[in-house]
């Protein structure tokens, strides 16, 4: 275990210390007084490694991460978990824009709200299923061009507007689950709005229980249905964008 006082440290120095600590076999890294340092935990690998962040980390947290866990006890800024491969990021506050861009595995749990472009270009293959769960609401372009993986939008804060415009535009894989019914008529015609079935709930249960535990929430409240499911109508929504449909 190591505790690092990040106050006034440039991201280069801070990340060097984190990397060297992990390389030397340290499993628990505590960062105190973090404020704005970019690239924390980027590209790190390994099992049973946990980085705990106190303070607001800078952009690009946990990018390309492959295995470790990051726990943030505050808000985070933009571009969390870009192209993350495995591991887990737990955020006790709100998240900025573009969470999990092109994410290909692992979990990102956000207790609060998240900004614009959450889970865009997410992808999945066989056992690689990236998961993002958001406790509050999100901005526009939620799941834009989503190709795989799973996102869950809980809307626990009872806000009127659960998501912004362009919900699931260009989505052609994966699934989005909602704990609240929304008027989906104003959204993308490229997706379908269904009620989640038992298989869906069996799949989600494991993750929702973990989410409830991480944030001290009542698990019954969280997994109690019904949930709604959004899936793409087609795996190739733009197959005929440049050619006539008869071709």
């Amino acid at each position: 275990m190591i505790t690092i006082d990040a106050k006034g440290l440039h991201y280069k120095e801070l990340n060097k210390i984190i990397r060297e600590s992990i390389a030397s076999g340290i499993k628990n890294v505590f960062l105190e007084n973090v404020n704005g340092q970019y690239y924390i935990g980027d590209g790190i690998k390994g099992d049973n490694i946990t980085i705990t962040v106190n303070g607001v980390p800078g952009n690009d947290l946990g990018v390309f991460m492959d295995g470790p866990s990051i726990i943030v006890n505050n808000n985070v800024q933009d571009n969390v978990g870009n192209t993350m491969n495995s591991g887990k990021i737990t955020i006790k506050g709100d998240a900025g824009d573009v969470v999990g861009y092109g994410m290909r595995g692992g979990r990102i749990y956000i207790r609060g709200n998240a900004g614009y472009r959450i889970g865009i270009h997410m992808k999945g293959y066989n056992e690689q299923i990236p998961i993002i769960i958001i406790g509050g609401k999100v901005g526009s372009f939620f799941g834009e061009y989503m190709a795989g993986g799973v996102m869950v939008l809980l809307g626990l804060n009872n806000s009127e507007e659960l998501a912004g415009e362009y919900f699931g535009v260009g989505m052609h894989g994966g699934a989005i689950y909602l704990k609240k019914k929304i008027d989906f008529s104003k959204y993308s015609k490229e997706v379908e709005f269904l009620e989640a079935n038992d298989d869906d709930m069996a799949f989600l249960k494991k993750y929702l229980l973990e989410y409830a535990k991480d944030f001290n929430l009542s698990s019954e409240d969280l997994i109690g249905g019904p949930f709604y499911k959004i899936v793409p109508s087609s795996a190739r929504p733009y197959a005929h964008l440049y050619t006539s449909s008869s071709l």
Binding site: G36, N113, Y116, G139
Partner: protein, 379 residues
């Protein structure tokens, strides 16, 4: 040093920069230390080729007359411009802008300021009868486009811009902003990608009391420029941000639009959004789009607009640049990154992000309407 009269054959500038703003709604003045600390946290968003600050409330002793900040390449340029000033303005006071040369900023133009008002019997009255504000605008346009080696970078009342080539924290030290006080500050850290960093190209861009700091790229620069030229604005600085300052002068001062509506011209709602509005609103926003189509800003942007009665934070319509706000008591902070706010205010009462295309408008409380309920989103 790059010469001020820039003849770069470049259309306009793209930048990926850092922004900060601080306002005290009771107009309590603070010195430049906080804004310097906040923008310094965003050091890595810039590359040392431009930093600057706008401050409101800094010249209370000359609050009724115009404060011109001018940069000159050489004494000849200064002589020529001062000739013009003497012929057209009553100069109450003039002096060098106080600077402190540091190892970081040691190559700079001549920086001079003038507190003055237009003469009532000035020559141009023979030809037309411009009001004082209009005459100041035309003087700024004239000097910036016709006088070699001279550039007016601030021309408002009881406000000033302080800017140059360097990182903003070094520019703050250079202008000794810890000795300057204001109730509102904005700051910019520049990362120019399409035009060289030169003293005149640093943000903020100002005209009269308006100031703009901007992160992003105005793709509509060409059409905005041609539109502004019809109203005799000269786009002399070859940077996209300049158009925003002039559009707002045109909309707010010349055409009398409220600040809220002017922002809805810059980031006009999409027609599909207008379609869903109540009939009266729909009519208003349709009219705005039709009349001011050429003033619409396209491309990714985050801006902080300063004017004597408040501060505005605005994103483009699909939010392609970061912007965060926080409040603590009478202070509101705006920044490109939340950590920048927390650097000077570790525990804000609320932190939130403006929605795409919807301005956050923070007004000082001696003006009516503190919060525009429909637009001030605190969640």
């Amino acid at each position: 040093m790059l010469r001020l009269k820039n003849n770069f054959s470049i259309e306009h500038d793209i930048a990926g920069c850092g922004l900060c703003g601080i306002i005290n709604i009771r107009k309590i003045r603070t010195n430049g230390e906080d804004i310097k600390k906040a923008i310094a946290l965003e050091h890595d968003r810039g590359n040392g080729l431009g930093g600057g600050f706008a401050v409101y409330g800094c010249y209370p002793e000359y609050a009724d007359i115009y404060a011109f900040h001018v940069m000159y390449d050489d004494l000849a340029a200064k002589h020529d411009v001062e000739e013009y000033f003497k012929n057209n303005f009553i100069i109450e006071k003039q002096e060098s802008i106080p600077v402190f040369k540091t190892s970081k900023i040691n190559d700079h133009p001549i920086l001079h300021r003038y507190f003055m008002k237009p003469k009532s019997d000035r020559e141009d009255r023979l030809l037309h009868d411009l009001g004082d504000d209009d005459f100041v605008v035309s003087s700024v346009m004239l000097i910036n486009s016709e006088y070699d080696g001279a550039y007016v970078f601030s021309s408002g009342k009881n406000m000033g811009a302080f800017k140059g080539v360097g990182y903003p924290e070094d520019i703050a030290d250079f202008y000794m902003l810890d000795n300057v006080e204001g109730y509102m500050w904005t700051a910019h850290n520049r990362f120019p990608t399409n035009t060289p960093g030169w003293w005149g190209g640093a943000h903020p861009f100002t005209l009269l009391d308006w100031s703009i700091v901007h992160n992003g790229e105005i793709s509509s620069y060409g059409i905005n420029k041609r539109y502004l030229e019809m109203f005799k604005y000269n786009l002399a600085l070859k940077t996209d941000t300049e158009v925003i300052a002039y559009i707002l002068d045109l909309l707010i001062r010349k055409h009398g639009l409220p600040v809220e509506l002017a922002m809805n011209v810059l980031a006009a709602p999409f027609y599909q959004t207008i379609e869903k509005m109540e009939p009266k609103q729909k009519e208003l926003y349709t009219a705005l789009r039709q009349i001011y189509g050429s003033a619409l800003l396209n491309g990714p942007f985050a801006i902080i607009f300063g004017y004597p009665d408040g501060m505005v934070a605005l994103n483009d319509r699909i939010k392609l640049r970061p912007l965060v706000a926080g409040t603590k008591g009478d202070f509101t902070y705006i920044a490109s990154e939340e950590s920048s706010i927390r650097e000077i205010c570790p525990y804000p009462d609320v932190v939130w992000s403006p929605k795409a295309g919807e301005p956050i408008i923070i007004k000082t409380i001696n003006t009516e309407n503190i919060s525009q309920k429909q637009r001030l989103i605190i969640s």
